[in-house]
């Protein structure tokens, strides 16, 4: 299979209302924001906002209407860290889906994020497929035949 074919197969479907799935990225690294943005857009996602710290994320989140389908959250950031920002965002919208994307693999941080309601964790460094699989899982989309095709 060529890379182009493989790329084409990694696509998120449209939502029931015909729009594409939307994302908010929270990370203090310009590289990581660009990287996540490039990957999510390649799946057909829309990145609505990128915030460089937890405090900015909470401010931006409040003014967003509609809210993003998924928020990606770094843990170690200036002004307000990811754990605090998860608390603040879930206090405003308990149904918000949040995935922690962090290099810190400490078990206690993962446990803390899960207890707060961020049910998914992606450890940096990641590859495109890691993001694709977790996003589909969060959105409760079946991976489907394209993955079987990759294996074959």
């Amino acid at each position: 299979m060529t890379d182009l074919t493989r790329e084409h197969r990694r696509q998120l479907p449209s939502k029931d209302d015909g729009t594409s799935y939307s994302f908010m990225i929270v990370d203090d690294s310009e590289f990581m924001v660009n990287n996540l943005k490039r990957i999510l857009v390649s799946f057909g996602g829309r990145v609505l906002v990128a915030a460089a710290d937890g405090l900015q994320a909470v401010v931006d989140y409040e003014s967003m209407d509609p809210k993003p389908d998924i928020v990606t959250m770094d843990i170690t950031m200036p002004k307000m860290g990811g754990i605090e920002a998860i608390k603040e965002i879930l206090a405003r919208n308990p149904a918000q889906k949040i995935v922690v994307v962090s290099a810190m693999g400490h078990k206690d941080i993962i446990r803390q994020a899960i207890v707060l309601g961020a049910k998914y964790f992606i450890v940096k460094p990641f590859v495109r497929d890691d993001i694709y699989r977790v996003v589909r899982k969060i959105l409760d989309l079946k991976i489907g035949s394209e993955e079987e095709g990759d294996v074959a």
Binding site: P78, M104, P125
Partner: protein
């Protein structure tokens, strides 16, 4: 410095670079103790460690290697003066030290890491505490060589 404190940094560097650069040719040297300061090749990211281990880790490379790595990771051709090169190399160092300290934490060492400090310019000298001289390892990749210098002491106070 004890080998079990050094190896997680070399292993994490090899694993993270292999994944981020999609480079299976990566190889490493043995650790070598430095008698004097660490002397930078051009771009050095310093990350402080505190907790039951104290000191710092230096992720050091020349500008050409940094630009080549950042270009692969950003999927575009960059020049050394692009700010995104610094951001990419900082994040790379952060991921490597984050992984290594996770391994050390699992082995019973509590360690927190500081935000990265970037030192730009060749021949910059970084001194270690006299009780914790640097131990350095060279990691060879297709993009060039990265040196990891480690200066850590165990804090045995109650």
């Amino acid at each position: 410095m004890k080998e079990h404190l050094l190896e997680p940094f070399a292993d994490s560097t090899v694993n993270v670079l292999r994944r981020t650069l999609a480079d299976e040719t990566i190889s490493r040297s043995a650790f070598e103790s430095l008698n004097g300061p660490h002397v930078s090749h051009g771009m050095a990211v310093i990350i402080g460690i505190s907790g039951t281990l104290q000191g710092h880790i230096i992720f050091d490379l020349d500008g050409k290697t940094a630009t080549a790595m950042a270009s692969v990771m950003n999927e575009e051709t960059l020049s050394e003066s692009d700010d995104i090169v610094h951001s990419t190399i900082s994040e790379l160092a952060n991921m490597i030290v984050g992984h290594a300290t996770s391994i050390l934490s699992a082995n019973g060492y509590r360690c927190d890491i500081s935000p990265p400090t970037f030192v730009i310019g060749p021949q910059a000298r970084v001194l270690a505490h006299r009780d914790a001289p640097h131990s350095a390892v060279a990691i060879n990749t297709r993009c060039g060589t990265v040196t990891i210098s480690i200066a850590l002491i165990e804090d045995n106070s109650p």
